[in-house]
Amino acid sequence: MSDLSPGIELSSVRVTLGGRPVLDGLSLRLTEARIGVLGRNGSGKTTLLRLIAGLIAPDAGTVRVNGADPFTDRKAALALLGILFQNPDHQILFPTVEEELAFGLRQQGASALEADKRVAALLRTEGRAHWAKAPVTSLSQGQRHYLCLLSVLLMQPETVLLDEPLAGLDLPTQARLARRFAALPQRLITITHDPANLVGADRVIWLEAGRIVADAPPTEVLPAFTAEMARIGERDADADLAG
């Protein structure tokens, strides 16, 4: 897949949480269509995603998405970025499917009628028209993930940020979602601890303790990462405390 313009630029970004540096002097230019961010728990990858999404501001350095600051310019950020959180229950804000889907459109300035129309059209093309009135609590975990994806896609962002998008799902659901992701025209930035999810990526960034260890195509990064994880696993590595 060709590069999508003009991309996301981070320069000398630093983020500290509770006095501990989580990202430390990170500089990146992200323009590829399929980007993976790989790292262990606590490597700073979720913080990086939230930083790009404009949910948090850096303590130092700048973040630009197509030239706009996603933290201060929320209007631009909404048009450019969608984010899929790991736990759908942290993302779904409304009691029924159609209201959940319509919310983002209303926030982008669509009228209630227009939003309802687009929601109904989307559910029809997805073969899920019968979901419209369903209470979100009646959906399975996999269906909730799907609903979150649909509500992000409805807002037509240029880039979709995915936080461990396949974790905790059964295998058929994983396969179906992965196929759906692969077919999306958007730029995808996937963060995960599982190298298997990034085999098809254009570029993989390996993050450790808030710094970049490797930044290369998956054929280079994934084997090195897997070997290093096996090596750490041999030691009693999870006895270390952060900070």
């Binding site: 949910l55 959180f85 229950d89 804000l93 029924t96 926030q107 009135k133 369903a134």
Partner: protein, 198 residues
């Protein structure tokens, strides 16, 4: 699970929410002005007919939603039998059940977002202090997150029970509160990611 709007599509689903709420307001006032148990009985029968136009499944789920009223019916009924004011007791009970049933009918046939639309319009005079969109959003969030928080408390109770022979009772309040605050942070973030509360 909090499923207030009935998935069974009735004719009343297609009426505007504001009109339905106005009818409930007028109807409830009328119920309080009428004293005769016969007239009130007629009102209850009328409300029951209203439900039946929505079909058997619709009426059945309405009955289940109204069932929690039974302790009140029992206590008020027993009291008036005790004081030998049966006609007055009947009037109170018929009035109460009809009013709740009527309001429930509107709840079951109105989408939450339409209901919120009415609140937004009514709250317009308050807009300098309280932006109506924000008020409506708060309503929706409460309805969405009550079941989530109940699930969360269930999980905490289970983790307690898995490691303690004693029942947790009030002791889950602190972890449940902290979990709710933590969830609130995440929800705030999700809200920001999709355009904020404005």
């Amino acid at each position: 699970m909090l499923t207030l709007t009935s998935p069974v599509e009735t004719w009343a689903h297609r009426l505007p929410a504001g009109g339905k709420l106005a009818v409930v307001a007028v109807g409830t006032t009328a119920l309080f002005l009428v004293g005769s148990p016969w007239l009130l009985g007629g009102a209850l029968a009328g409300t029951a007919l209203l439900y039946l136009t929505g079909g058997v499944a619709f009426s059945g789920s309405a009955l289940r939603q109204l069932w929690p009223l039974w302790p009140f019916v029992l206590i008020v009924g027993l009291w008036h039998i005790w004081t030998a004011e049966v006609a007055q007791g009947a009037a109170i009970l018929l009035r109460m059940v009809s009013a709740v049933a009527l309001a429930n009918f509107v709840t079951m046939t109105t989408r939450l977002s339409d209901m919120l639309g009415v609140f937004e319009r009514i709250a317009k005079p308050l807009s300098p202090i309280l932006p109506p969109r924000r008020l409506a959003l708060a309503f929706a969030l409460v309805i969405r997150f009550i079941p989530v928080m109940l699930d969360r408390m269930g999980l905490i109770r289970q983790s307690w029970t898995a490691r303690s022979p004693r029942a947790p009772r009030w002791r889950i309040m602190v972890p449940a509160t902290l979990a709710a605050l933590d969830d609130a942070d995440r929800v705030a973030e999700a809200l920001r990611a999709r355009g904020g509360a404005g």
